[in-house]
């Protein structure tokens, strides 16, 4: 296959971007496949989805942690191979997460929490095979449709975003943070505090406009700012391990024979509509700044329960409760690439890491990336089709191996995860200071999570902080210090209005109840 398509990538770009430029999506996709089928990129894709599945299967390390761990490894790769591999980890984890949810009743990652409810019940009833099968097929279908949606929406959005000024970017960042805070479980003040802290942490180091060092407290290690990777590894990786170490217990793995991985006709009949609804819903929730795979899986479950003629079956092994959420989280993972590639705004923590990875490779995601570096966008899109097919092949025949991996005791596993975290944070700048940063954020993350503070708003605010500052200061300079610039530009005004409504609705007592209902459902 690589020989057949590899030559396409060697064609001059102009061949594909001729008179009609990027509007000709067929040629663009063909160009993307040429890149995706290059041997190195195929290998990167395979490794990405394999590691992603493994990360999804193993409780205790999510896709964000795994991506930050492997980021230094990608330095030796070309930017396109690196992004293909990191993207593979993300959507691979969405596939793998269902295995532990169904067989152990422990979600491998947060987006599979909801799969535990009916997936584990199905396994208890001896239907682990169809549950795993429908999760894999649903993920494949949704993942593939999600990529189609990404292809069709990212280009026009990027063309629109070229017209955005600093005021629009500032307001969009505010909107993204508000949506995330609104949808974060827990109290609104906690979410707001986390976002505020994240913005402040992002300001440490050199000023983006004047270049002066600030808030470094005399530490030379802070002149370049707090590193994203040590921060994420600490908040998600180290703190997760500390939480698991609190009470070390052996996992109970269901001793059931996994048979009939291919769902029956009746299973397909019940699952077809949930898969379709999950795909559609997940994709659009994935695009939403602050949305993503976790939220979409919960919303999909609530939706399926409402649509079902037998809602009483939910929680007792209803296959719709597995098919819908698993499709939704995979579709959302594709959708969340849209704001990153077209606006340069990450929709969630994983996309924030991908943004960091692109910047480490000297690329700036945003509306111009599609024209300046089409190989990154189309190569990644095409690799996602290939990766989804690889995942289907990996997940179904290799389920036995994934189950064996689950049997590794946690006391043997956590030293390895810790070592990878240490090497990963050290390798970024060959600097011990980054290890200290990671450990400090690990302890901080542990206590934050114990005290019911979600670290996600902190990380997203940390990533968006520099853009927030730059766009606000530029907008003020352009408008001669007038704040009206944010209200006179329609998109900016609309974004700020929606952000304000969301925050007020979460604070006002009459609307608080509605938000709680949405989150609890």
């Amino acid at each position: 296959m690589s020989l057949k398509f590899g030559f396409i990538a060697n064609f001059p770009k102009e061949f594909f971007l001729g008179a009609k430029g990027f509007m000709n999506m067929g040629y663009d996709l063909f160009y993307g496949f040429g890149i995706a089928f290059q041997p190195m990129n195929l290998l990167a894709c395979f490794l990405g989805v394999l590691i992603g599945t493994l990360v999804g299967v193993l409780p205790g390390i999510g896709p964000a942690g795994a991506m930050s761990l492997l980021l230094p490894v990608t330095f030796g790769l070309s930017p396109v191979s690196a992004i293909i591999m990191l993207a593979g980890i993300f959507y691979g984890a969405m596939y793998g997460g269902s295995t532990t949810s169904i067989l152990v009743n422990i979600p491998g990652e947060a987006a599979s929490v909801v799969t535990c409810i009916d997936g584990y019940q199905m396994a208890l009833q001896g239907r682990a095979g169809p549950a795993l099968g429908i999760a894999a097929f649903g993920s494949f279908i949704a993942g593939t449709f999600g990529v189609v949606g990404l292809m069709f929406l990212a280009t026009p959005l990027a063309e629109l975003a070229v017209k955005f000024g600093p005021a629009e970017y500032f307001s969009l960042v505010c909107l993204g943070l508000s949506v995330l805070i609104y949808l974060t479980q827990g109290s609104i003040p906690h979410g707001l505090a986390m976002a505020g802290l994240g913005v402040f942490l992002s300001l440490i180091g050199q000023d983006v406009i004047e270049g002066t060092a600030r808030f470094t407290f005399g530490l030379t290690g802070l002149i370049d700012g707090v590193g994203l990777i040590p921060l994420v590894m600490g908040l998600f990786g180290i703190s997760e391990i500390l939480l698991n170490l609190e009470k070390l217990g052996e996992r109970i793995i269901l001793r059931t024979k996994i048979k009939n991985l291919f769902p029956s006709r009746e299973d397909w009949r019940k699952s077809a509509k949930p898969i379709a609804r999950g795909t559609f819903l997940g994709f659009f929730l994935g695009i939403l700044p602050g949305g993503g795979a976790v939220i979409s899986s919960f919303v999909s479950y609530a939706l399926e329960k409402k649509f079902s003629k037998h809602p009483e079956q939910f929680g007792k092994g209803a296959i719709e409760g597995v098919a819908g959420p698993e499709s939704a989280n995979n579709s959302a993972s594709s959708g969340s690439f849209i704001p990153l590639f077209s606006l340069g705004i990450p929709a969630n923590v994983v996309m924030a890491l991908l943004l960091g990875a692109l910047m480490l490779h000297g690329l700036r995601p945003g509306p111009l990336m599609l024209t300046q570096h089409p190989e990154i966008f189309w190569g990644t899109v095409a690799s996602m089709y290939v990766g989804n097919a690889m995942l289907l092949a990996l997940n179904l025949p290799l389920i036995g191996i994934w189950v064996q991996i689950l049997k590794i005791p946690y006391r043997m596993l956590f030293p390895l995860i810790l070592l990878f975290c240490l090497i990963g944070s050290y390798s970024i700048g060959t600097n011990v200071f980054d290890i200290y940063v990671m450990l400090v954020f690990g302890v901080l993350g542990y206590f934050l999570r114990k005290l019911k503070y979600e670290p996600a708003p902190l990380v997203l605010a940390f990533v968006l902080g520099p853009l927030l500052e730059k766009s606000l200061r530029e907008a003020l300079i352009i408008s001669d210090g007038s704040m009206r610039v944010f209200l006179t530009r329609p998109l900016s005004a609309a974004s700020l209005f929606v952000a304000l409504v969301l925050l007020l609705s979460a604070i006002l007592p009459s609307l608080q109840k509605r938000r709680k209902t949405v989150i609890s459902e």
Partner: protein
């Protein structure tokens, strides 16, 4: 009552942090709206955190009933193996302190040995062997194959 009191202290913490950030921002120069300085956004962030803290404190003082947000201070920190957590973190900080001096191989071996040592079974040999395998394997992957430039320390090789 303990949880409610804690939530008040929590609010006070954010107020103090917000004030400190405002002070630091003021020191690095706020500038004007026409020419915003490097401290402007930090100052706004500090004010924002102060307001959030104030809301937390006021909501606890003004509300007559305790709102159940699923958090109980007593339950949250009950039955935690603090010794294990402190021991693990001490090993990790020790790793950071000695990494450059002792080098990757020796520090990693000691860390792995410390983490894998089973206090109940007291099996020194198995812990040592596993640590050796992990150290060697990770050295091979990260230093030899991926050229990660791990610290050399007292050994003649990295």
């Amino acid at each position: 009552m303990l949880t409610k009191g804690f939530r008040k202290i929590e609010g006070l913490f954010w107020m103090v942090l917000g004030t400190a950030i405002c002070f630091l921002a003021w020191k690095v120069r706020l500038g004007t709206f026409m020419q915003p300085g490097p401290g402007l956004i930090a100052f706004v962030t500090g004010l924002f955190l102060f307001m959030v803290g104030l809301i937390m404190v006021l909501s606890q003082i003004l509300s007559r009933v305790h709102r159940d947000d699923g958090f109980d201070l007593n339950l949250t920190f009950r039955n935690i193996s603090w010794l294990r957590l402190v021991y693990t973190m001490a090993l990790l900080f020790g790793y950071a302190i000695f990494l450059n001096t002792l080098g990757y191989i020796l520090t990693t071996f000691l860390l792995m040995w410390g983490l894998l040592y089973d206090r109940k079974k007291k099996n020194w040999a198995l812990g040592s062997l596993t640590s050796l395998i992990i150290t060697g394997g990770s050295y091979l992957v990260f230093e030899v194959w991926l050229h990660s430039q791990l610290p050399q320390g007292i050994f003649p090789w990295r």
